[in-house]
Amino acid sequence: MRVDSSFKEEVRKRSGQRFDACFQCLSCAGGCPVVEDMDYNPTQIVRLVEFGQRERVLASKAIWVCVGCHACVSQCPNRVNVPLLMDTLRQMALEQGVEVPEKRIVLFHRTFLDQVRRRGRIYELGLAARYKLASWTLFQDLIAGLKFLWKRKFKFLPEAVKGLSDIRTIWREGDGKA
């Protein structure tokens, strides 16, 4: 096995954190609510980063499935910030054009941010509709969606912020490529 140190260095630099304090106690994996849906558990992700396994880590499901609940870092004896690591790895996977196994999650993030870019706020009905159209899972949530409409929870009229120029500036100046 060849260790690609450049990967570990890049992750450290971008996240501003070191991940070599981990002594593989598995606390993070044990407390992670979504570990069953991960291909590598959080301990393994930390370890694979240290071993420089760029491709395996960036193409993993685990980095997308993480819900950022912070259970892991709360119970880590070494305060290894796993959710921050996951955020960093997701950003790297997108930038490096890796084929993401959890396409719907990425699509959801994109649709969400697109709404924010246009209106400055989330207009939930629009978000749901766009996401559904884009992901072709139109029927999956139809029943729940109808219930929502019936209850008139979602706003029908999208509400935009007045200072939309600020939002545009954020996207233009703030490297809002995502």
């Binding site: 069953e36 259970a71 950003q91 941010l113 924010v116 706020r121």
Partner: protein
């Protein structure tokens, strides 16, 4: 303790006016009955939520920071934040700007405005505690009759504050007392701080189903008649998801309090629930009559 005076400014977040109408409306009612003057931060915008921090940290900071700048310009000293997820995002942005020269300069470059750090971000439970049990007690005209509730804090509220900026632990006793004042009885159960998987509710519903079923199972086992939550995302997910367990009504803390205060407008928001809480509430009311 500092006195609360004048108007309270709050950051509602995107869901308070739509999918979390129950929370928004009951919060307004509660504030009205407590005689508080509340108004939203003018022209607030989305904090960026998970999609921003998952994909682009710069965007996450700038989106959240715009609200800090607005609060500063509007002379807001304490900004009350209603949603735990928004709270963590705003707090994170604040920390970055105040501790990293690079981030502070980036903010100034983009907005041509400086953030000086004078706005205190406060989760709404902090404000409620400041208002105090005594004051809340005064308005409890229609208390419940031993309604058994499972207090569900969810993930972000129950993490150490060095990570999120707010830890519910020192507030737990206060919340239990608050619930008792409303005539409800908090049950002991082991799942009040486990994540419900709300962020995967749309993209990986099977995962959210599993997490919700687990939470509900333990709430039912503890004989809770409803779950009481503090987060709009938890509320929606706990009502929407879960397949294997029987449904259980999910009320926001603000609904519980506004109901116990005898809010005349409760029907308006109660009808928005996906799991109808009315049968349970009627049962409580008939208890009230017979008791």
């Amino acid at each position: 303790m500092e006195k609360l005076d004048g108007a309270i400014r709050y950051y509602p977040g995107c869901s308070l006016g739509s999918s979390a109408r129950e929370m928004g409306d009951s919060f307004q009612e509660l504030a009205r009955m407590l005689g508080l003057e509340i108004s939203p931060l003018e022209d607030w915008s989305c904090c960026g939520s998970s999609p921003a921090h998952s994909t682009n940290p710069n965007l996450a900071t700038l989106l959240a920071a715009r609200n800090l700048l607005l609060a500063q310009e509007q002379g807001v000293k304490d900004l009350m934040v209603m949603c735990p997820s928004c709270f963590v995002r705003l707090k994170q942005a604040e920390r970055e700007i105040l501790t990293s020269m690079e981030k502070a300069q980036e903010l100034e470059r983009v907005f041509h405005r400086k953030y000086r750090g004078g706005v205190r971000l406060r989760f709404f439970l902090e404000i409620l505690e400041q208002i105090g049990l005594e004051r809340v007690k005064e308005i409890m005209r229609n208390p419940f009759h031993g309604l058994k509730v499972a207090l569900y804090y969810g993930c972000l509220l129950s993490r150490p504050d060095w990570i999120t900026g707010f830890d519910v632990a020192p507030y737990e006793r206060f919340i239990e007392d608050l619930v008792r004042i409303a005539g409800a009885d908090p049950v002991r159960w082991p799942y009040s701080k486990h994540c419900c998987g709300a962020s995967l509710a749309v993209t990986k519903p099977g995962t959210s189903d599993r997490l919700v079923d687990r939470i509900r199972h333990y709430a039912l086992e503890a004989k809770a008649q409803c779950i009481v939550v503090f987060c709009s995302l938890c509320q929606m997910n706990l009502e929407l998801r879960g397949k294997a367990s029987s449904p259980l009504p999910v009320l926001y803390i603000t609904e519980l309090l506004a109901l116990a205060a005898g809010s005349p407008n409760a029907r308006k928001w109660l009808s928005k629930h996906l799991i109808d809480p009315l049968p349970l509430l009627r049962e409580q009311m008939s208890l009230a009559r017979s008791g």
